[in-house]
Symmetry: C2
Subunit: 346 residues, 2 copies
C-alpha cells in the first residue's frame, strides 16, 4: 500500500523572525510496506509539537558553531524533526507492531519513517488524552520539571518569577512552583494571558510586559522582597531586570531566550556585580540531559494531574497545513500554552 | 601612651575610575591604653591588602541597593576596612595580648582599633613571611581556592582560561590549575606580564589583551578545543568572548568584573544561546562564604608552597602614604600579583 505523505519543509535557512513564505508543504509517495529486517518503523503522526527552539535549527550556522553548540541544522527541503505522538502503521522492528501508540522523534508531517536507532518508545497513555503526552507529560513537561527541580533547587515559600509564563514550559514551571508552596509571578504578553495565569492557573500574580516601560521597577513592584528563582524563557531586558531584583543565592534557569532567537544581535546583559555580590547561579540546560528523571517526572506530574493540583494548557491546531502558522505565531505571542498540531484523528 | 595614627580616607564617594584626589591622608591622636573590660584590641598594622573590590564600597548606592546587594558603603572621612596582618599593641580582650601577630579586618592606616566582634585571629606564620598571609595564604588565596575548586569543580586535563591572570586571585587560580594538571592560558595587559605568566608561573600560554582586536578569535586561537573553565576577573567583552568559546558543561566562576567597576554602564553580554546549548553554569561567589574551607585551603596551599608547585607573586609598596596610588594603579593594570602595602616593619 502506498500513501501520499504531506510534510513541511523550510525553503531556505531562516534568519530573523520566521514568515509564512519560509515554509513549504511538500508531498511524496510513501510505501507502507517494510522489509521485516529493516529495523525501520513507519508512524502515522497524530500530534506533533511546535516549539520555539526549532527556529535555532532552521538557522544557518558555520560548521564549527554547529559542531560545538547547537543541534544539527535542518536541511532546506527535508522533513523537520519534532517530538510527537503517533500510531505504528508498519514495522520492520520486532519491538513495535502495527497499531502501537508511540512517542518519539517524528516529523512535521503526516507520516514518519523512523530509522534504526531513532528515538521511539511505546506509549502507555495512562488514561490521559494523547495530546498530554506531547505537552505536559512530554518534553515540555520534562523541561519544566528538570529546570525547576534540578537547576533551581526550589524550597517551599521561595519567590519564583517565570517569564513567557503561558508558554509550554513556563505555565508548568509556575504550576509546579505553586504545588510546592512558592510565591509565583508570571509575565506574559496580553491582558487575557495575565487573567488566565491568575484565574485559571493559580499564579499569585502576573503582569503584561507590553504595558510596562521600566521592567526593573515593574519586577520590584511584584517582588518587594526580591526573587529567589527566575525561570528564564525570554532573555534580553527581562533577564537583566530579573537579575537586578534577585536575592542572595538566587538561581536563574536559562531555559529559552525567545526574545533573542529572532535577533542574533540582541543580548541579555545582566549586571555581573549583582551576579557576584548576590552569589547568583545562572545555568543553561537542555531537557535531553535529564531523561534519567523521566520516571520521577511522570509519576509526580500524573499525581498532580489526578489530584487537580496542576492542569494542562494546550493550544491545538488542526492539520499538517496549519504547522507553519502554528510555528511562526509562537514568535508573535499567539499561543496560549503548549502549541501542537493534530495531524490525524486517533 | 599616645601615638599619631595616620590613615587613608575617601573625601567623597567615588564614581568612575579612582584618582589621587579622591583620597586623603588623615591623622588623629590615638591612646594605646585600653580598659581591660573593653573587649577592644589595638593593632599596629604591618601589611594591608589593596583590592579592586574595595572600589565598590567607595561608590554611592541607594540604600536598597546597599541592603540587598553590596557590602555597606564606606563613609567619606572615615577609615577604610581591609584585610591585613598586624601586631597587637594593646588588648582589652582576654584572647589577645600585646605582641601577638594577628590577621583580620584592619584599616588602611597605621593602627586599627578592632571593636568587639570585629574579625581578628591570632596568626601562626608557619615559617612564611607575614606578607604571604595577606595574599597567597589570606583572602586572595581563599578566593582563588574556593572559586576554582568549589565553583568550577575542575578535573585534571581540563582547559582553563583565567583573565587578569597576574592579579592577586588570577595568578593563584592559574597555579592551582597547573598543579592539578589542567591546560591553562591567562590574559594580561602587557608583554612583560605575559612573559611572567609563561616563564615564572608556568602557564601553558598567555596573551596581551591590549594587542588583540577580536577577543573571540584570540581565544579560539589559544583554545582550539574550547574552554572548560573560565575564571572571570574582568567581565565585559572578555567574558562574552570566553563564553562563545566554551565547551559543553563549561563553568564560569564570576569572581570580579574589574572592567565594569569603573563604568557602571559597561556590561558583559554573554550569548544566552551558548549558555543554554552548552549547558554553561555561570556562578558569582564571595570568598566570605567559604571560611569553612579555610583549613583545607591552608593545608593544600602550604603543601604546594613547600613543594615549590606554586609560588607567591607579591607587589608590595611601602608606607601608609602609598596606599592611594597602590589602589588607583590597580585600575591602570600596574600591579604584578597581589598588591599590598607594608605599613610598618615587623
Amino acid at each position: 500500500m502506498e500513501v501520499m505523505n504531506r510534510y513541511i519543509t523550510i525553503k531556505n535557512h531562516v534568519n530573523g523572525a520566521p514568515q509564512e513564505s519560509d515554509f513549504e508543504l511538500k508531498s511524496s509517495p510513501l510505501s507502507l510496506s517494510l522489509d521485516p529486517d529493516s529495523d525501520e518503523v513507519i508512524v502515522q503522526n497524530l500530534y506533533v509539537s511546535i516549539d520555539p527552539y526549532q527556529l535555532n535549527r532552521m538557522k544557518s550556522y558555520s560548521s564549527s558553531q554547529e559542531r560545538s553548540t547547537y543541534a544539527v541544522a535542518f536541511t532546506p527541503g527535508e522533513a523537520i524533526d519534532t517530538y510527537g505522538v503517533g500510531k505504528v502503521v508498519a514495522s520492520g522492528n520486532p519491538k513495535f507492531e502495527k497499531g502501537d501508540i508511540v512517542a518519539g522523534l517524528l516529523h512535521w508531517g503526516e507520516f514518519t519513517v523512523v530509522k534504526p536507532g531513532g528515538m521511539l518508545n511505546k506509549l502507555d497513555p495512562m488514561g490521559f488524552p494523547l495530546s498530554y503526552h506531547v505537552g505536559i507529560l512530554g518534553f515540555s513537561g520534562l523541561t519544566a520539571y528538570a529546570g525547576f527541580y534540578e537547576i533551581c533547587k526550589p524550597k517551599k515559600g521561595e519567590k519564583v518569577f517565570v517569564s513567557a509564563a503561558l508558554g509550554s514550559v513556563g505555565n508548568l514551571v509556575g504550576q509546579f512552583a505553586k504545588a510546592l508552596g512558592c510565591y509565583v509571578v508570571g509575565s506574559a504578553g496580553s491582558k487575557e494571558k495575565v487573567a488566565l495565569l491568575k484565574e485559571k492557573l493559580g499564579f499569585d500574580d502576573a503582569f503584561n510586559y507590553r504595558e510596562e516601560t521600566d521592567l526593573n521597577s515593574t519586577i520590584k513592584r511584584y517582588f518587594p522582597d526580591g526573587i529567589d528563582i527566575y525561570f528564564d524563557n525570554v532573555g534580553g531586558d527581562m533577564q537583566a531586570a530579573a537579575v537586578s531584583n534577585m536575592n542572595i543565592n538566587g538561581r536563574v534557569a536559562v531555559c529559552g531566550v525567545i526574545s533573542e532567537y529572532t535577533d542574533g544581535k540582541k543580548r541579555a546583559a545582566p549586571d555581573m556585580m549583582d551576579i557576584i555580590y548576590k552569589r547568583i547561579k545562572m545555568q543553561g540546560f537542555l531537557s535531553g540531559d535529564y531523561f534519567n528523571l523521566f520516571g520521577d517526572f511522570l509519576s509526580t506530574t500524573c499525581d498532580h494531574l489526578w489530584s487537580g493540583k496542576i492542569q494542562p494548557l494546550e493550544d491545538i491546531s488542526d492539520g499538517v497545513e496549519s504547522i507553519p502558522s502554528a510555528f511562526f505565531n509562537l514568535f508573535r505571542g499567539q499561543n496560549i500554552g503548549k502549541k501542537m498540531v493534530k495531524v490525524a484523528q486517533h
